[in-house]
Assembly symmetry: D2
């Protein structure tokens, strides 16, 4: 068992449990030695015990201060992210942190700096970069198969809207949902976003509008390398989780379509029918969640760069904030202007 | 032969000949009795004679003043469109006119009014509305299969860029190329465009930039019915004519993919390969060109509304002009503002 | 108008009219100067007159004996095929004859010999060889892209069964329907069939069984070049005309899927649906019918080999007869055995 | 940990290790408490120890005689299958046995009877029944969506041929490879095979011919319910593991295509390319292997019928033997004749 990376999980909600179970089953290089949750329940205790996790605690500091632990995976509520990153970094622990880096972009930036200063790795949980389809698009683009990139197009639609209560505290569609797509856009373009222009509407559920948000949006992007981009979001695609990417360039186009549960096609007198896209992120990004953790572990074990850095998370957040400003003021907003306004 | 609609063709360039041959072969309800071209050549004479067209002239007025002719198809240069529409309307002839309605939106509007005053039908040559795929998308949307429309997405890319010389006199990408997509957007949304925001870049050919135009563009649309839209254009998709449409709504999504020459798929050790999209508009819209003329003839013969009116052509042109202004000023421009500025 | 190939049409039923109209519209190298039908009706006269055909007759000999006519297209009933081929050949006319070459294989063979003796071209109406998809499969195979051919698989299913009355006089599924597939198999394999084994059943309509035929069949083939083949037929695929071909070899596989009316895909909560295959042969093989006549005209005008010879029609017929024998005796039957039995 | 099914693995070769690792990771209802292999190596010991398996032995009887073990998974060489099934059954252990049930059909039948007599469950390792695509086809057929079944078509091609040395001891293509397809055919048809006719050829590798086998085959099937079937096999599809199924009936057709690693499509000037099928059975049937063991465990835990019985394995074997006889004698062979000849 020597050589395994000893990891602690902070936050045992849905995503924390997902990472824990993925690691137990599918990431042989990692051993989970601790799990904490501020709302520790008997359920969590039983679940963690059955997985053979020795240290189970209400207090994340029990993990952070444990000298036998090499890295932490932060799955707690967003407001705690930056503080936990900094606390872990100060004890020399590498950090995998769920997105976004924090509610406060200022604190997020501080966390990035602290992680750097203490020479620990910091990876953000932008799982979609590890999706087999989107990686293949990126690989094709990087290998030069599409030539110089001219356009990046992202479709990203959820199967069902969140509750208006959730929407009210979500930070809005750009920070809550489209932030994944800003990250994907930067990943695929291989370039930073320079300017955004956002349009939006309440078309799915008027309650979302009452909660002060929109549920449908199209955002245009200008990249530093001259390419253009566009993202469309909807809180409700009734046919399932619609996650597509196209990268178009001087030599061609690479397009990722949705995945389906089966390849079966039924032909009848009514027509030809086939499977809907996989229902939601747990299905579609099942393997991506495993790959992102494996990649994090590899970066630590081989001392290489993480594939989604804290700076990525920061840039994604600035883009989301700029989109919000753009929507509000109905004009294009540059990333520089947004950073200046935030003083970052 | 009684009952056939007698038509004259004004302008025997590429598109004029295309309509003429289509009608001869495939539109039994129409008889071409005259053709004119200001640059009448021996080639045109031979071609028209072989098709059995009795009246061949340099002067379009020979057609317009001919009392036996019921309708004209205007395929002459854009600068002549409005004048010819008005001349024909004054003699009571129905008019099919290639897009755009004129170089001058003011004159275009006047032509529409004259046609109305003289109770002649005026159809614009937005052939893509008659494409089998795009009609099917529209039919699905109209029948309620996608519910309320939330998003209209149009991809429209040419296989090869025009010469910089052409670009210099083309009116620019929005008036020359994207005008088709503005028309498609309005057609699919079932609603007027209210506001546009245009981004653009010179990524295909620097000579196009020197000619004062862009070759790559993404334009965001807001429709009067609340839906959002986006169009992307490129002057060069090296893999062929890329013409796709998606209409997304509360009940689902209808997507039209490209057509290909064959359905054959070759699987080898290198991978699985299949046909590129049909090369360009003559291939892709072959049947649409026939259908638009058939539809025009039917509208006359049955005295019904044409499927693409002069007003459509006018609105498309305003959208294109607004996009140009938006690109120049890097801000969203409303259709109302554009109309006010033009005094229309 | 000089240089046009002057052709007479013998038989103005569905397929005769189809060829006539195709030629009038789409085959500029050919001029139809005569049409005959033993059951000449006023309808046929009106139709032919409107197409401008000068000679309209009840008697095919008026065509065959007309020295101004270069070639004939025989679309009369099968029992007359061989006699008409021979009569036309004796006057030096080239012959395009609908499949099969005759009810009697002996007479068919005689017709082939007479055509040869009189140095006229004889093309059989196996239109599927001119299908864009199947030609592409053949082209890929011929160009070596699939390597040595190992397997040829053909799916061929009609959308609806014929009437039992038709079945009773059809010659049975192998001669009436699968003969097209035997021809396709030989075309794709680039080799003659050596042996067949037929299975069959009455699964679609018991009345077809009562009429002495089957409606569902799978036939295995051995080719002279060592490849294996399989054809499946059904008289009723409720979802439309199912016409697919696969050629598999040492370097890969080429597969032709069905054509559809549109490329549109509708995604809803119920699933993803798309178009059924084109309904039947008039839709699916629309262009193939034009191409086969164009090809015939080209062969005459350029004095080259026809693409489907009388011998092809003969070999196809032998295969069909061997399949019938195989089904009856439930054993594989060689082509040699079949020929010996027929004395050909 | 109470309630877990305690299982022993007999045979730690490739497939034994696959099942062991799958169970450790993905089948929480099962606990592996023992592993044996006649060729026990240090490698196997280390591997089993790391997985925490307490009992590691050279002798399968250490597993069979262990009263704490409820079920065994037999992954040893085929010649030992029936003996091990019987030994395990006599101690009351449920048995999952890799296919085929034995080299000797007589012994296989005896094993089935012994298992029955001792009231233990016996499941055969026909993993493809648990493939998501093929299960979906079966579900559609069972639910009546394709109506009465008329045709079952199976394509099954390996990516690369086995060594001639392997071929020589494999039992031949029908017992080694097509046996899976006979099982799939029976599964999809929902009916027993009544008669087979086999054609075959050596087209991939002459060495396979020298080893007394064929490498390419088409086998026609007649089912007890009147449906027809066809299976094609090749030892080498250079583009990957080609595993497709079609069930065609009175109401339509259900078709399973291959799975691919990604949904990405690259469009360039050369054409449109996409992924090949997944390379081989470990990739394609990854989840099916997990599902078949989960299904076996469920059958024991809930005392329900296994999904692939010993009788299934027996019938598949008879079909394979009949195909061999058919190929040799070039005539259709009934299952009854084959059973009579074998005295079973």
């Amino acid at each position: 068992m020597t050589g395994k990376l000893k990891i602690g999980i902070i936050g045992a909600g849905r995503i924390g449990r997902l990472h824990t179970e993925n690691i137990s089953r599918m990431v042989p290089s990692v051993e989970i030695v601790a799990v904490s949750d501020v709302n520790m329940t008997e359920d969590i205790r039983v679940w963690a015990t059955e997985l053979g996790i020795p240290l189970i605690s209400k207090d994340s500091m029990d993990i952070i201060n444990n000298p036998e632990i090499t890295a932490v995976i932060i799955c707690s509520s967003t407001a705690t992210h930056a503080d936990l990153i900094m606390a872990a970094a100060k004890t020399g622990k590498h950090v995998f942190c769920e997105k976004p880096i924090d509610l406060s972009v200022i604190k997020g930036l501080e966390a990035i700096r602290v992680a750097k200063k203490h020479h620990v790795k910091l990876q953000l949980g932008f799982n979609r970069r590890f999706d087999h389809n989107f990686q293949q698009v990126r690989d094709l683009a990087e290998s030069g198969k599409v030539g110089n990139i001219h356009l990046v197009k992202i479709t990203s639609r959820d199967p069902a809207p969140p509750s208006p209560a959730y929407v009210a505290v979500s930070g809005g569609i750009f920070l809550d949902m489209m932030i994944h797509d800003f990250d994907m856009a930067r990943f695929q373009a291989g370039s930073e976003i320079k300017e955004v222009y956002a349009t939006g509407a309440v078309l799915v559920d008027p309650e979302i509008g009452k909660a002060g948000d929109i549920d449908t949006a199209i955002v245009t992007l200008k990249f530093a390398n001259g390419a253009l981009g566009v993202i469309d979001n909807s809180r409700q695609a009734v046919y399932g989780y619609d996650q597509r990417v196209e990268v178009f360039g001087s030599k061609g186009s690479a397009q990722a379509e949705n995945d389906t549960a089966t390849s079966v096609k039924l032909s009848t007198v009514e027509g030809v029918s086939s499977d809907k896209p996989l229902y939601f992120f747990l299905q579609r990004y099942k393997d991506a969640y495993i790959r992102e953790i494996t990649s994090f572990a590899d970066a630590i074990l081989n001392d290489t760069e993480v594939q989604v850095s804290g700076e990525d998370g920061f840039e994604d957040m600035i883009a989301a904030l700029a989109a919000g400003k753009s929507l509000k003021e109905n004009r294009p907003v540059t990333i520089d202007e947004m950073k200046k306004e935030l003083g970052v």
